[in-house]
């Protein structure tokens, strides 16, 4: 067997016995993402689905000044509850979080309504608090609806058609498909997968230089009648293998997780069946060479395993950058963007999840662009490995 193969097999065997590698490659990356995802989705599902059905408790000061309004609110699934004594106490109660919101109806409310001048209602709330913000939005919606009803009643009383208040009739026609809507949510998956992939090979990438050096096994290794290229290529390929394994596991674990998330309730149908999983694997796997060589390269500049880990945790974030920029700029996939590794994988994956047909040119550019970048970085790693200063 060639020296490269020998190095590859030894690295695989060595790392399969290393708890640190196993933990990050087989557990951390593949499980962390989906579990976090499932948790977040379930939580937000509970919030958004739960809120509409459940009555909202609203403390109201001065209920007696607006009996009609109170009746209206009660009939719209809002429970009127005991309020603090006065406005100052209400502000205090909202500040301390005792109440999420308090309505204050002034004494002159009824008189103002009768005179047809705007009658003031105060909604005291802390909009920096997400729950309070959501609840006060619900209360405001009810108040606005009441406002609208009163206005219409007044117009009719004056013999004016309420239609004059609606010069425009705005209709939104939503053509999004359930799988398209799910892409909004599942779009962030590509980062999870790239993260899992990189985590899987991290320890191997460090081991090639900083790890071997720290253990004192680098010098005897370099004394062997094997070229340094063979050593570093064997190590990088072994890192690729672990990255591919980690990617595969995280795709599978995500596939399983999705079976337990009721995304249909959000009007989404995730298009993440077995064929998509297989395609996603082949779209993402070219990234392993780039990831392994990038991590090896960064680690080769460090003095110790610890230092390498610190730097590589920055590298773990690197693939987010293009994804983030593009999702802020809302760019559509085009051939030029396919040249950017991590971004191209992200866009292709989003396309897959939206159930759009794969653009073969895009796939070709993405795969070859990512592979070429990986090969270049691998060659740079090999060059650095030939340096005399390698031993430190």
């Amino acid at each position: 067997m060639s020296a490269l193969g020998t190095v590859f097999l030894k690295e695989v065997r060595d790392n399969l016995r290393d708890r640190r590698t196993l933990l990050s490659a087989l557990l951390m990356g593949p499980l962390f993402g989906p579990i976090l995802f499932a948790f977040v989705i379930n939580l937000s599902l509970k919030q958004s689905l739960g809120e509409a059905g459940e009555p909202l408790d609203v403390p109201v000061i001065g209920q007696q000044h607006a009996t009609n309004l109170i009746a209206y609110l009660t009939s719209h699934n809002i429970n009127i509850v005991e309020a603090p004594a006065d406005r100052a106490a209400a502000v205090e109660a909202v500040k301390t979080g005792k109440h999420d919101l308090v309505l204050v109806i002034r004494e002159d409310f009824g008189a103002a309504l009768a005179d047809a001048v705007p009658a003031t209602i105060e909604v005291i709330s802390d909009l920096a608090n997400t729950t309070a913000e959501r609840e006060s939005r619900r209360a405001l919606r009810a108040l606005r609806a009441y406002n609208q009803e009163l206005a219409i009643a007044r117009l009719i009383a004056r013999g004016v058609s309420p239609v004059v208040l609606r010069p425009l009739n705005i209709d939104v026609v939503d053509v999004s498909t359930p799988s398209g809507r799910s892409a909004l949510l599942l779009g962030m998956l590509s980062y999870f997968f790239l993260f899992a992939l990189l985590t899987g090979g991290m320890n191997l990438a460090i081991d090639a230089t900083a790890g071997e050096r720290e253990r004192g096994s680098l010098e005897p290794l370099l004394c062997l009648p094997v070229t340094r290229d063979q050593l570093i290529f064997g190590k990088i390929f072994a890192a690729c293998a672990f990255m591919a394994l980690s990617l595969c596991l995280s795709l599978v674990s995500f596939y399983v997780t999705l079976q337990f998330i009721p995304l249909e309730k959000l009007g989404m149908t995730p298009n993440f069946g077995v064929p998509v999983v297989v395609k996603a694997f082949f779209l993402l796997v070219p990234f392993t060479l780039l990831g392994a060589s990038l991590m090896t390269l960064v680690a080769s500049f460090t003095k110790s395993f610890k230092e390498a880990q610190t730097w590589l945790s920055v590298v773990l974030l690197a693939p987010t950058l293009p994804i983030l920029i593009v999702s802020i700029l809302m760019v559509r996939a085009n051939t030029g963007l396919m040249l950017i590794p991590s971004l191209s994988q992200h866009l292709l994956l989003v396309g897959l999840i939206k159930n759009e047909p794969l653009n073969m040119l895009h796939v070709l550019v993405s795969v070859s662009g990512t592979l070429i970048a990986g090969i270049l970085l691998t060659l740079i790693c090999a060059r650095l490995y030939r340096r005399e200063g390698l031993l430190g």
Binding site: M1, K10, L224, P225
Partner: protein
């Protein structure tokens, strides 16, 4: 056979090796002796090709270490100063890994590894992972993997570092055995007694130069000191005494 001629190597301003020349013959134990920082390790590192000399030549069995480093390396068994093992592999797997990379044919591989395990008395812990091995056990495994391809030349950089009395004794026995088998053994040390106990030839290095190169008796004669330690002290204070 190792021959070194006019070797020079600087790291920035520091001249680590400044014109070192000597021969280490087959069937002979040559000791490279010198205080810390004298240039012993740098010389050895050039010989096993992890460093390139600025000037001068070094040959292993007549093969130049710069122009044909792969061939040169295949003729050496090396125990560098730091000889870490792979902690997740057993002693046997560590040795077998090196045997494969040295190009030992696969049909001979198991036999050769087994032979090294016997020769170095590793059998008791051969199938344990090397994590947690004592320094003595580690040195034995490192030696076994360095010798597994039966090299003609053996380079050992301070091999007795951190070894206890018994381990040092068995190391000496091994080195004498290699000599008896007609191998060329070159090892460095800063411990006079060790060199005196083993070597046929002593090369004393100080400040990157060869201060003296002779047999132990020759050195006693040249320096006029009966005690080798005195001779060593005298030699390193008068570089070029040769």
């Amino acid at each position: 056979m190792i021959s070194v001629n006019g070797l020079r190597k600087s790291f920035g301003e520091v001249k680590a090796v400044d014109g070192v020349s000597f021969d280490a013959r087959d069937g002979c134990i040559t000791g490279l002796l010198g205080p810390n920082g004298a240039g012993k390790s740098t010389t050895l590192r050039i010989l096993y090709t992890v460093l390139k000399p600025d000037a001068g030549q070094a040959r292993i069995d007549g093969i130049d270490v710069v122009s044909d480093d792969l061939e040169a390396r295949s003729r050496i068994g090396t125990l560098p100063h730091s000889s870490g093992l792979y902690p997740h592999l057993t002693a046997r797997e560590n040795i077998a890994y090196y045997a494969r990379l040295y190009g030992v044919p696969s049909e001979q591989l198991d036999g050769r590894v087994e032979q090294m395990i016997e020769q170095l008395e590793i059998a008791d812990f051969a199938d344990r992972r090397t994590k947690g091995f004592s320094q003595g056990q580690r040195t034995k495994v490192a030696l076994a993997r360095a010798l597994v391809h039966e090299p003609q030349n053996i380079i050992l950089d301070e091999p007795s570092n951190g070894l206890d009395v018994m381990a040092t004794r068995s190391l000496r026995t091994l080195i004498r055995g290699l000599k008896a088998a007609g191998k060329c053994v070159l090892f460095s040390s800063h411990v006079m007694q060790e060199v005196a106990a083993l070597c046929d030839e002593i090369v004393i290095i100080a400040e990157g130069r060869v201060a003296i190169h002779d047999s132990p008796e020759g050195i006693r004669e040249k320096t006029g000191c009966d005690d080798l330690e005195d001779a060593f002290v005298k030699a390193i204070h008068s570089p070029g005494a040769q």
